[in-house]
Symmetry: D3
Subunit: 287 residues, 6 copies
């Protein structure tokens, strides 16, 4: 009954989608991606409460139902491999069924948010002392600053960059030093790619790369080409953007919708550096 008493007037789903598309048009997304409005409930109702999450895991789905959410915005698309059925035997089908059974809409922006100006890669770039910034692959026919990845000019040591990245993502980072570098090497150019950077950055030349995850053989390749790599874990290179986007979305919707950032959403991985710390770390993992 609490739900009815919401002080938010809400907006039509179509109106919310329109604002999201204004921020980052679905057509920006990669061809292989699956973005936009992925689930539209059978019965129309006003969107009063919106939940932002990086991954729509089942704990996050539970949180959405507990909080009477009308629309979930999940950065990663919960439907990626197309569905041939919707049963209770796979978690992604359960999530889809839960949305439709409870009249919850689902929107996913993914690579459209990666490319848009002021999106996920621009947020990740703030870990660096930026002297200049531009997309790695500028998007043709889009506003300046739009495109895949970011290329930054800076003037910091690796030691400084590790520290400022730790602060920005608020957790530990993984360092793969170039064969020719030391922690005190001064970095002039940085490549940024939120998420899994291996395929976009292939063959890319910069002094240092910040991305979410990268395979062993990709790391050896970069380290032999004078490029140090900093890894955040995949979703830690993306999730922080949600806190930044939350008030922006509230404004775009003229304060008529309540915007929440998921409390259950987190990266699946924690690094356990010695046996003593596992209790604390894993308690964090259980939140």
């Amino acid at each position: 009954m609490l739900r009815r008493m919401s002080s938010f007037s809400g907006q039509k789903l179509a109106a919310v989608v329109k604002e999201l598309e204004n921020f980052a048009p679905a057509k920006l997304a990669e061809k292989w991606d699956n973005v936009g409005l992925l689930i539209e409930p059978h019965k129309e109702k006003p969107i009063k409460k919106i939940l932002l999450t990086n991954d729509l895991t089942e704990p996050v789905m539970g949180e959405a139902l507990d909080k009477n959410i009308d629309l979930i915005i999940s950065y990663h698309p919960p439907i990626f491999r197309p569905l041939t059925r919707i049963t209770q035997s796979h978690w992604k089908e359960r999530v889809v069924a839960a949305c439709l059974a409870n009249n919850v809409a689902l929107y996913s922006p993914h690579t459209a948010w990666d490319k848009t100006f002021g999106g996920v890669n621009d947020w990740l770039s703030k870990a660096v002392a930026i002297q200049s910034i531009r997309p790695l692959e500028p998007e043709l026919g889009a506003p300046p600053g739009t495109g895949s990845g970011r290329f930054i000019e800076t003037d910091q040591t690796i030691r400084q960059l590790v520290e400022s990245l730790q602060k920005h993502i608020q957790t530990s980072v993984h360092l793969a030093l170039a064969v020719s570098h030391t922690p005190d090497t001064v970095i002039k150019t940085v490549g940024i790619c939120a998420g899994s950077g291996g395929s976009l950055l292939k063959g890319f030349e910069a002094d240092l790369i910040i991305t979410g995850e990268m395979s062993h053989h990709e790391l050896l390749e970069f380290n032999h080409n004078d490029t140090t790599v900093l890894l955040c874990n995949h979703s830690n290179s993306e999730r922080g953007f949600l806190k930044e986007f939350s008030p922006k979305l509230s404004d775009l919707l003229k304060g008529e919708c309540e915007i929440l950032v998921s409390e259950k959403d987190k990266d699946p991985l924690v690094t356990v550096t010695n046996a003593d710390t596992i209790c604390d770390l894993s308690q964090k993992a259980q939140q």
Copy 2:
């Protein structure tokens, strides 16, 4: 409120699915097909009312909701091309959303029913005075009589076969006479393929073929190879099986579920032979 008063005790969805699989195992289906339990509601409830339909069109979906159906068995799978999203802009996505929003389960047997002994092709074969019958392509490792299509030995004229097929499917049929045949040619061998027979029957040799639909160039090929073809329209070669299956399913479920055959389900096509009849025919089309 009527629903609660149902005199049927119902069965668990898993139990109903088990009986359907006993009748025609999903593994019988063609590799390219998408059969079995396609939609399983988020909340479990007993299956008291089951609706049988050939195609799950939106009129049939409306009928299912009006009649408080718990499980729809649709011969053709409503999800065939895999889904990347479930919105209100395409009828098949609307049907999926309607099922999930109303806790209606969906099961689809398709080619498993085609192949099983006592299934759709055996029903269609009853239009012929059978002297012997066997599958066109017997299924390895399955009970005798199981397989794709049927091959029948008989001894009837084309004229007789047209008449008996008209009675069996209760509507008009389409005749493509072989170059070497007349209506009084005696037919010794008949090939049966419910639905669209062109690819299964390619290169097949028989005096006459009964199927649902076939392309112009396939017809010319058969007619030049001494094979007359009788077409029923696609779903008219399949739908009649539902009336035969309905009491059989009731028995399999020990009378604990109510089984209905859709009143809205029909072939999309009606043949208009002259302008006078269009009113009547199209009224039928509107039922």
Copy 3:
């Protein structure tokens, strides 16, 4: 000996082909098609007698030999799947051998006639009270009015369109009413595609479609998207053009060739609405 006494002076084969190409250039045809001069006899002789047919079946081939035809123009290409041999065991190879053994040339226009202005689709369009007409897919670099399919603006009820189509093709038609339509729905836009319209018209939006044949699943798709479909049977959506083209071709050839339309050419299918009519219908099928 009759042949020698023909009052027609005839033309060279190359000259006839040139006029046919002027009417509809082979380059207009689809890439997958096989059009133009398909058989050129070993010995040159003047073309005095031309037979027009929709399909070069063996009865039509027999007619051509009986009538001492010099050139057959078959709308559908008798050679479509390329030939690895020419024997007497397959009807299409027999037709090719018969042409070459009897010095009969063969020309096939197919999709070039579909696209050309004044061709097959324009003929089929005459079933509709046209307010405006244009190709569905205009051909780049070709004269106005050239292209695949036709898009027509009109203002008729479905009932009226069924009647006028019946008159135009002079046989029965098959009607698949849109979910949202009745026979009295007023149609504003019509899509035309002679032959098999499923792939060209996929996703196409109009109130009504007239084509030759279409599969069950294509019909359901259109009927759920507010589009009624009228089917003629494949070749009935094409054949009537030959009667219209016959005098036009005679003029193009300055009356120097005799132009016949085949009497044996017919659609393979007849609809048998009840048992009483089969004699009449099948007698027609035997002509």
Copy 4:
């Protein structure tokens, strides 16, 4: 008129084909090949005169018409790339049209003759002093001695093999000496492949190879792997078999058909070793 007076009674085409299939069944041929009866005339007539040729060039076709041939047996299939039309603009189409216009049948054995025991490869092997012989790739389920290529044990110098091959094919040969060989190297093992041996013989190990043609890079590969190669020119490695087969075929047909070996058939290439010889060589080319 001469033709009528033939003293040969002839046989039915089907009977001749049956004998040819007994000698070398069509199913022996490679999957990619196109063998067997390739042209069957529209009107049946007895086969009295048969012409054997390696290639059915237009000079050979002219010879066949001049000599009133009823059946051409062409080792290489004149139809290889499937035909989409049969006009007068390409020589292979002209040949097909000439056969059909003149009621000449055409049979082609190609790789069936290569593989059969007593066929083309066995004929070519006779250039070697054979100690033992077996197919390179024996054919499963076929009589002993059947299969692709031949593997021979011998004990001759390269010098001797060049001389005996020259005598056997009655023209010059081309020699590519292995890096490790001299003309007096004794050869113990020989690989035989009539025609173009590169793909069958790839990776094959023998002291010497005899084939028709082979590319530069294939030769370098063999010469570095201790294998000397002798080339005959493609058709010179095949044609000689026809003279051997001619009386054998006459016997198979009980002397009821006249068997001719083409006088116009020849390898397209002649080697001009110095300017003086061109007149003679080219006169040979003009026969």
Copy 5:
């Protein structure tokens, strides 16, 4: 000059390769892999000194030259993508050129060592208290215990497994807890896959998985299917085997060769948990 004074008599390269193949035959390797003797010097010389490494990086190559190594055994194949040239512009080509210019042989076992009994996966399995062990995919026709991955039955808490894995690989580990697990959940079944486990383990069911690296989306999939994942970093899941193999190889070669384990070989990644530790960690990275 030191080199000459070696007290090891050495063995022929072919003899060393034979022993390596006895331990783990090259044919065990995956089809896509590139294993066995990858570089064989132009001039033969005895193999006296062998260097074992997980990855043949340039620092390791430098170490090999400094130590006058005759044969490098690199677990990962330094030639994986085939080479079209060998220049100084890419590190892998430089490594190949350095080997050949200095007469250093190179052998790589990769997936042959993964599968063999007593190989890399068996070494990694020792982190677990094993009750029973068998390959995930046993190799047909190979000795028992041979195959891809390992499946272990045990009875330990996640907390215990993390600790014992840390001790076994002697560095930190990364933990992705299943949605249904806590650190005190008792694990009954463990899947082991050295290196990158995502593709081998896809769809695999166990309580816990130990592997080198795995992508974010693979982790979410496992964590929703009741499987906790422990990651070591790719090469830390493999490298420890070298120390175990070194004395075994010395024995296989009867003590005639000196076996060294590389001191420069290390995983490219170090985890930096806070800014204070970077000096120490990165110094380690510089060894």
Copy 6:
């Protein structure tokens, strides 16, 4: 020791490569080709002695080592199929190992030299009395005269062309006369393609073609389309260019490098016209 006393000062490898690229840029080469600097030694040293060869066979490699060559320029790329290993069991791997073990660089131009103005095809064209000349397929964005093959206008008999080609390549040629030609036919247009001309020249129309090698079926095709073909053997259509290029390269390198043309390089094939000549011919083959 002789080597040190060389009177040539030499140039850096990069400088030599730059001059070779100026003459024929690597980007001119076909996409499927593998050209440019293929082997760069591990240790840098001045390039004083350069060996030109058409094919880098093992006899030529031996010659290079005997003569202390620093850089081999091999027209055909010795690495074409990419290498997965470099052992002593295949001759091409042995050649690569020999280069790297002896600090010999390797450069290969192949189709870049074919296309460049003044390259291999222009050299081969000199066998014809040229009235006009242009590339068969001009290269877009390249200097005039650059492109694949050459098209020449002339006015010579076939007899004259055979003679002048014999003189130009200094060995025998192979002649395939068009069906419509005699040795005295006057040739107006000539197509030139060094090497293997079949695929580039497919469908090409000219009175005569000069190329290195061509298959039997390609020859029959050209001979029926009024085109006579002259074959040189593959490498004889290319090798003569090296003698022409040698002084040109010396000039490009300002006389600072010694340029040799290989004495061991030769076409693998010799034609043996009768048994008497084999001694002489094969002695030539043994040089």
